[in-house]
Symmetry: C2
Subunit: 380 residues, 2 copies
């Protein structure tokens, strides 16, 4: 797939606990913002792609009915934490195949009403039923990483401190407060070594993007930011020794996206990555190729992944601070990437980024590394 | 989208109430059958698309994990009754865009364990909460059709009789019995004018297809049956007078598929259509263009839609007799189309069909005609 797909508008709700709002209403707020940002009418949209893990049947149809956007082809996709990113990939492919020129991509979830942050799933999900819910899974990874590479609790806390230092400038973030290593360590214990602030919060929200073919973007003078790589992979089942601290899935998915984009990790200026727990960000530094295996703590300590650094990770505040309404996260990452690439990110603006990478992974299914991982690469 | 996509293998489970089986196991049975039919190894599959309305998160990942098909890009899609057909369309588009050459498409649902045949949905689903569940919706359409066009209860029963006359020969059908108009009318009343046998049953099952690019199909000598049209649309919200007996949604969706295929309704030899209730088949005769508005009963009485007729409708037995495990139905329709186009349908074989149309519609969302409608056209 060589031809590019342009992202010409983005928009999102604030992420927060909003049990008193309907998810449909949140979805419409995000869609309205994305249409306005793209400066197009509702009638310009030709196809709709929706990602959600929890909202249930016919999500897109529900959201758009009361918005007057009926009659369109609507495709609802689900891939757990990668639902939104998967929707982006399907939309980009539909445009590349010539099926449409202007697509709306929407991600929504509402954990405050529809379910929590663990993976409940079906009766046959043996691992979570035995207690291996997500905080436990990542806690074991963190323990192993401490054992292997001498990482400390303070390092784990520092990831959250960094997330808040950027996210406090993000008007859409669930949290806007600065925190210290002491604050993080003093927060309630969740799954040793994770305290509360080392885990992403339960929250709600929606985010959207308008994707266009080169022709459609050009005619609107909106051919600025392109998706040049978009990959999706699922986990591999392994018996025998399991490497807990190196994510084979993220590494494999990123490799495909880099190849498609014709770039390498050294070209990435900003990365919105799946820091569901603080250890996740460190693991994914390595899996995305930003440093060698075991060097994540050094990279963190170097300050290079802060908003002032040359590989800024999670300028939005990431899942830890901006929040993680599952299906909305992939689109929120696209929003942040576009704002950063445009130079519109205000006080959290990174210095002239050219290449942004988004990364979502999740949906653990018993015995798999993870269910789904999706990586998108955007350039200006 | 001009280049064709080939269907080179199909397979399905028997449709039945199977509360003692897992949906994952049913899915694997269908996948195994489709791979065998396509005469390919599991390793030949490059992408997977799964349609389901009820199985919840990461369905494809769950099914394939224990089948050794891990590590692939898996995209789970949901569009209520059109979930399976939507998955077919996404797979076909991915192939056309050059994203892959060999895709597995899978549809599964298990109503006996995961939910019933009504549309429960969310709190804001006003219509079903007021009693407008699917049997009631279609019963009102039937009543109106009787009023407008003089259709009788016997005509409604005749659709079920025709479905069983074909489906009794289908080894995968939920029912294999012949029924008479008297049997149908004597069965338990569900929603006047529908008796039990005028409603599709609650059931479980899975169906799968292997789709290939022209190159991949040609190298295997499997370039026989092509998808030449694939459309998806959603309902339009209308205030004021609502036409209950003519499906604007199906008409609009079919028009797009016919245009893409470059054919008209007069070219269709067999149609697998969404006869969730007997009135549905009659309404969709008209919406798919097989007869003019109000002429459906005449068409039924003419015998032209039987397996011996020139526009055979539902040789598989349709939803009424073969069954309707929601997400599996779109793929079961592809299975039947392929068997018929190949001449492999045994005692229910239609005389040398060249063009097959599949039609799924459903997912009513308050005030919409229907949530989703998908039409695929296959030719040999």
């Amino acid at each position: 797939m060589s031809s590019s797909v342009y992202v010409t508008g983005v928009g999102m709700t604030k992420f927060a606990r909003m049990p008193d709002r309907s998810f449909e209403e949140m979805g419409r707020e995000a869609v309205r913002a994305a249409l306005k940002d793209a400066n197009i009418e509702r009638s310009a949209v030709q196809e709709v792609f929706c990602g959600s893990a929890l909202t249930g049947r016919s999500m897109g149809q529900r959201v758009l009915r009361d918005f007057g956007m009926t009659g369109l082809p609507i495709t609802n996709v689900e891939n757990a934490c990668a639902s939104g990113s998967t929707a982006v990939r399907e939309a980009a492919t539909a445009i590349r195949a010539g099926r449409c020129d202007v697509a709306l991509v929407l991600g929504i979830d509402q954990l405050s009403r529809l379910g929590g942050g663990t993976i409940p799933g079906v009766e046959t999900d043996i691992d979570p039923n035995l207690g291996m819910v997500m905080p436990a899974v990542y806690a074991m990874r963190a323990r192993r990483y401490m054992h292997e590479y001498g990482m400390t609790r303070e390092d784990l806390a520092e990831v959250a401190v960094k997330a808040h230092a950027a996210g406090k400038h993000n008007p859409y973030a669930q949290f806007r407060n600065e925190v210290t290593v002491e604050d993080v360590l003093a927060s309630r214990m969740i799954a040793d070594p994770f305290t509360l602030m080392m885990c992403c919060p339960t929250g709600d929200g929606a985010a959207a993007a308008i994707l266009m073919s080169p022709q459609a973007a050009r005619v609107r003078g909106a051919d600025k930011i392109r998706i040049v790589g978009s990959s999706l992979q699922s986990g591999i089942y392994k018996t025998g020794h399991r490497d807990m601290v190196h994510s084979e899935l993220t590494k494999r998915t990123a490799k495909l996206a880099y190849e498609e984009a014709g770039i390498g990790p050294e070209d990435v200026d900003i990365a919105e990555m799946h820091d569901a727990f603080t250890i996740a960000e460190l693991m994914y530094y390595e899996a995305l190729g930003f440093c060698a295996g075991g060097d994540a703590v050094s990279l963190l300590r170097s300050g290079r992944t802060r908003i002032t650094g040359d590989i800024c990770v999670n300028p939005s505040g990431g899942l830890l601070c901006r929040g993680h309404p599952v299906g909305a996260t992939g689109l929120a990452q696209i929003c942040e990437s576009v704002w950063q690439l445009r130079g519109d990110a205000g006080p959290r603006q990174v210095d002239k980024p050219r290449v942004a990478l988004t990364h979502c992974t999740g949906g653990g299914v018993s015995g798999l590394d993870h269910g789904s991982c999706a990586v998108n690469i955007l350039v200006t």
